[in-house]
């Protein structure tokens, strides 16, 4: 059976999601931030994490965005292959949702239309959209507005197969060390290993949308996530980069097959305002 779906439905959902995600962290992130405050050993670090708790409360209660950088809208659309869309083009429907959400939600318009001439599009469009086709007749929308303080500190490393696991670990630590205070720690570190140049970057981005309390279901990847979180927290960068024991809240890693000649690794760094929201329609 083919399900007919008006693309207006995408617009409505995405509009609401833009507003919700910028004022309130997801449950997994809220818990992680609370735990970080409880566990931080540095006095100054603890004070900063306490203020970030206050910030989240004010944002939620008074509808002030958690961070003024309400991000560039990144949208993952997993589309059931038994759906037939009606109405405007899917891409236009998504962008209309972003436009309405950012205008009606008092969110900052942070997108310039051309990377060199840099004129603001004034409605935060276009979104960056990643499509995939899946079985079924539902659409899973994942929205993850990305701030650029941390995006700018993200890296792709084209390692050699001989660099192996040590090379991967070194790449992750290098990216986090270089990011330091610029990426608004405590960070969430999304990592993509394998694929091609662009595939590993998308894997890393998608990893950031996984709840921070959920590990990879591949045993060695789960171990790597745990080990890298310990190592990153051992760097001492701390909240705000001013020293402490909590530099990252989680390391989420996704892997994919790759070529005999390569070992691509992408490290997508996100600040503590790691916004992700999922809806299925």
């Amino acid at each position: 059976m083919i399900r007919e779906m008006d693309t207006k439905l995408l617009t409505e959902q995405i509009k609401e999601m833009c507003m919700e995600v910028n004022h309130q962290l997801s449950d997994d992130m809220e818990k992680a931030m609370k735990c970080a405050f409880e566990e931080e050993k540095s006095e100054l670090g603890k004070k900063i994490l306490s203020q970030l708790q206050d910030n989240l409360k004010i944002a939620k209660e008074e509808r002030i965005p958690i961070c003024q950088d309400t991000g560039m809208a990144v949208v993952f659309l997993e589309i059931g292959q038994d759906i037939h869309f009606q109405g405007t083009a899917v891409e236009d429907a998504v962008n209309e949702g972003v436009r309405l959400g950012y205008q009606e939600g008092y969110l900052r318009k942070s997108v310039v239309g051309d990377p060199i001439f840099r004129e603001n599009t004034k409605d935060n469009t276009p979104a960056v959209i990643h499509y995939s086709l899946v079985p079924g007749d539902q659409v899973k929308i994942t929205l993850a507005p990305k701030g650029f303080g941390s995006e700018n500190m993200s890296r792709v490393f084209m390692l050699k197969p001989s660099d192996g696991m040590d090379g991967v670990k070194n790449a992750i630590l290098t990216a986090v060390k270089d990011a330091g205070p610029n990426a608004c720690p405590p960070m969430v570190v999304g990592v993509g290993i394998g694929g091609t140049f662009e595939k590993c970057a998308i894997l890393a981005k998608k990893a950031l949308t996984r709840p921070v309390n959920v590990h990879s279901d591949i045993p060695y990847v789960k171990e790597l996530e745990e080990e890298m979180l310990d190592k990153i927290n051992g760097l001492g960068i701390g909240p705000g980069g001013l020293g402490g024991t909590i530099t990252a809240l989680a390391v989420n890693i996704n892997t994919f097959a790759t070529h005999i000649a390569g070992l691509p690794v992408a490290v997508n760094i996100c600040c503590h305002v790691n916004r992700h929201i999922v809806r299925e329609i």
Partner: protein, 181 residues
């Protein structure tokens, strides 16, 4: 230590602040980020006057979200300062005394700070809702077409910052970043 200061932040005030101090600023400060800094630099290159009174000024690297009705400003936390590194030394040489942002600064900026007895503060990155509560008024001064990147003049009350690099060049990121329990 905690210090409560009023703007304008003069050379005397800036010199009395040490890396690691918690400072609460009250008074008037300017807000500008990348695009505004670029325009100011271009104006200077053309031999024009700056659109702001740069002497003893404090510039907050920030681009707010839009204000809801009845509020002076939206979310208002710091942006990454290193993007202003290219432009900051010239402004420091013209009299800018304090910068508020987040993250590392270049050697050129630190040299210009020492030369001019200026101070660099960090505000808490990602705490834009909390910080907005310390801002009591906001007006666009110029470059309105830049939207969130326009230059603003804002009034702050006990705005909380930390001295990261002081007027002698001592850098808290280099010392505090080595924390171990």
């Amino acid at each position: 230590m905690d210090q409560f200061i009023n703007t304008p932040i003069t050379e005397k005030i800036a010199s009395g602040l040490k890396a690691g101090d918690s400072v609460f600023i009250t008074g008037t400060i300017y807000v500008a980020r990348d695009a505004a800094h670029k325009r100011m630099t271009e104006a200077l290159e053309r031999g024009e006057e700056l659109p702001i009174d740069i002497k003893d000024s404090t510039i907050y690297y920030m681009g707010p979200s839009p204000a809801r009705e009845g509020r002076p400003i939206g979310s208002a936390g710091p942006t990454t300062s290193s993007r202003m590194d290219k432009y900051a030394p010239v402004l420091l040489d013209l009299g800018e005394k304090a910068m508020i942002g987040k993250g590392k600064r270049s050697k050129e900026v630190i040299d210009a700070m020492i030369r001019n007895h200026a101070v660099y503060f960090a505000a808490i990155g990602g705490a834009g809702a909390l910080l907005s509560k310390c801002i009591t008024s906001s007006e666009v001064v110029c470059y309105e077409d830049l939207g969130a990147e326009a230059i603003r003049k804002i009034t702050v009350e006990n705005f909380p910052v930390i001295v990261v690099i002081d007027s002698e060049g001592t850098n808290l990121y280099e010392t505090a970043g080595k924390f171990s329990s």
